[in-house]
Symmetry: C2
Subunit: 397 residues, 2 copies
Amino acid sequence: MVVTPQFMEFSEPLALQSGASIRAYTLAYETYGTLNADKSNAVLICHALNASHHVAGTYAGQDRSEGWWDTMIGPGKPVDTDRFFVIGVNNLGSCFGSTGPMHVNPDTGRIYGMDFPVVTVEDWVNAQARLLDALGIGTLAAVMGGSLGGMQALSWTLQYPRRVRHAVVVASAPNLNAENIAFNEVARRAIVTDPDFHGGHFYEHGTVPKRGLRIARMIGHITYLSDDVMNEKFGRNLRAPTLPASPDSPLAQGAGPVRGGPAPDLRDYLYSTQDVEFQIESYLRHQGDKFAEYFDANTYLLITRALDYFDPARPHGGNLTVALAPATAGFLLVSFTTDWRFSPRRSREIVKALLDNRRDVAYAEIDAPQGHDAFLLEDPRYLDVVRSYFNTTVAAA
Amino acid sequence: MVVTPQFMEFSEPLALQSGASIRAYTLAYETYGTLNADKSNAVLICHALNASHHVAGTYAGQDRSEGWWDTMIGPGKPVDTDRFFVIGVNNLGSCFGSTGPMHVNPDTGRIYGMDFPVVTVEDWVNAQARLLDALGIGTLAAVMGGSLGGMQALSWTLQYPRRVRHAVVVASAPNLNAENIAFNEVARRAIVTDPDFHGGHFYEHGTVPKRGLRIARMIGHITYLSDDVMNEKFGRNLRAPTLPASPDSPLAQGAGPVRGGPAPDLRDYLYSTQDVEFQIESYLRHQGDKFAEYFDANTYLLITRALDYFDPARPHGGNLTVALAPATAGFLLVSFTTDWRFSPRRSREIVKALLDNRRDVAYAEIDAPQGHDAFLLEDPRYLDVVRSYFNTTVAAA
């Protein structure tokens, strides 16, 4: 499936939940499959923290897909693009083509930076609804997302109940708990206190707050993985040294691994506070370095704040049952047993509130070892549940 | 109980596990109670990451104790200083009076900084043993510690089996798992990449890497608390604004809380990525700020690394049963159900390995809501278990 990113420009101001507004903006999006004649087969995919509109397929010239949900979406896949017209959209404030903090504020002629308005899940849904208007799509066969994307799917059913027939909410939650907010806050502080952040106007200084982004991403990765999978993948394994040992290192004295020497786990410790000793350290540093190369620091702040703020029950005194009363869609919820970021308990809260409202709800709790990351991985039980829901329930309506 | 810190100087070099050595050093310590005539009532208390030799009691002029285990140790307390002679000692490399990275290296005349040698749990135990030698104490009635302190207590029973009659190991583990190491590594990276760190020689630059220390402490605090206690204490509660609202803030427009206005939880969001919105953010920032004022950055690196490295089963191919065979002490192990940093499962591994060796082991798993922090808190069930162990088992021998 060869795909092409597209861009839609909006010249009407978008009023935001904060009271601010964005005068004009662009959304990057992609579509897969064909919209049918009565425009009834559209499926909107909402992305999570660091993902984009590039959900599936390959760009011209690529050998393999870099789409973040390519296991899920495509011809013959659980969300079958031979049958459904699938739309991926990059959210406002993100950094993959839609208008964001790295763009020029038309009101000032200056790059937005920290002045980009705070956007919420509800704002993203409103922007996505406008994209559907522009594409001539009234009602979605389904809206679907994992994690923060699941929050958007849930919010769709509340903001536009008549435009959504089904919602698929994966590894998500009705709001963040204190621990979730705490991790977001540490990540934000790491970015904001990086001297290269320059109050969010680092673009003008020709810098990137990479130190902060690295820390933010390392923290994120810890929370994406389960304790068990981390122990299984990395455990206490030492990293095999890749550089020649210095003459006064224990490695040079024959005590540790050299080519053909003992396995890394049997080598001596390096006894260093800064060198990479354990494989888990190497993994995290690598993830941090990669992330700092491509992700925008202001976007990280905005998106983690959108996560913090999402709380549909808040205007209803915390009563989720009352909050979800407007939803009329059919629902599939999926959670993963070892996900401690958005635990099954949080999905069950949504299930319960929907059942209180006598809504159609299917719920699958997948016994997966990988933690929150499981929602992006290829687990046949998980993919089969989604496939079945789309083939029978979504397609039937 | 009024107490006074004392200092013992050691002029014999201490050989370290890494192969390096420390030529001369000082240990800060305190004692509570009276050593009996046959010197059989000494109890050594080992401290965890950010604690010190000041375990209990008050310094002259203080109204209340700042001792980190004052609930546990003192006249009539679980470790009763009317009966036992209790010793608190600050570890080598720490920053509360014992020789550490902020002191001058006698070999170079320069402040150690990052050149302070890496010290391990085993090195600390060796240094503590020398302190006992200097105090004329051959055998400890008990060695006791929580968390990293518990690792030292366990190591005492392996390094000096004949000098320890009992070991009390609280909220500890036989080694760190991958997730523990991961959190340590993120904290270390935050410190090391702070421009004010200056390769660990910040003393000479008149700076302190406070940004990094703050992040490190915030991460630590998240892992010390259970998810449940965080939700109960902070939940999604918003912070009441303490500063006058700016004219263009929603607060100034009557939408939010002012004195006598609605409760903080009912105020509007501030819609800001940098201002403190939630109480949990305020709590973490405060903890980070406090810590950065008093804790040494190089000490943080050293102590987290000592945690990473501790793994008595490592020389035995990971077989903890074989590793613990040399221990002859009686053991009390205590864990807390909601401690996800050092979970009960890890304590049970130690219990199992000791039972494999037919050692005397008592084990209490306390159903406490506070997470890892519980080991420092006043829980009658926990304190009573320790009291009982000391009054009967330790005192009887």
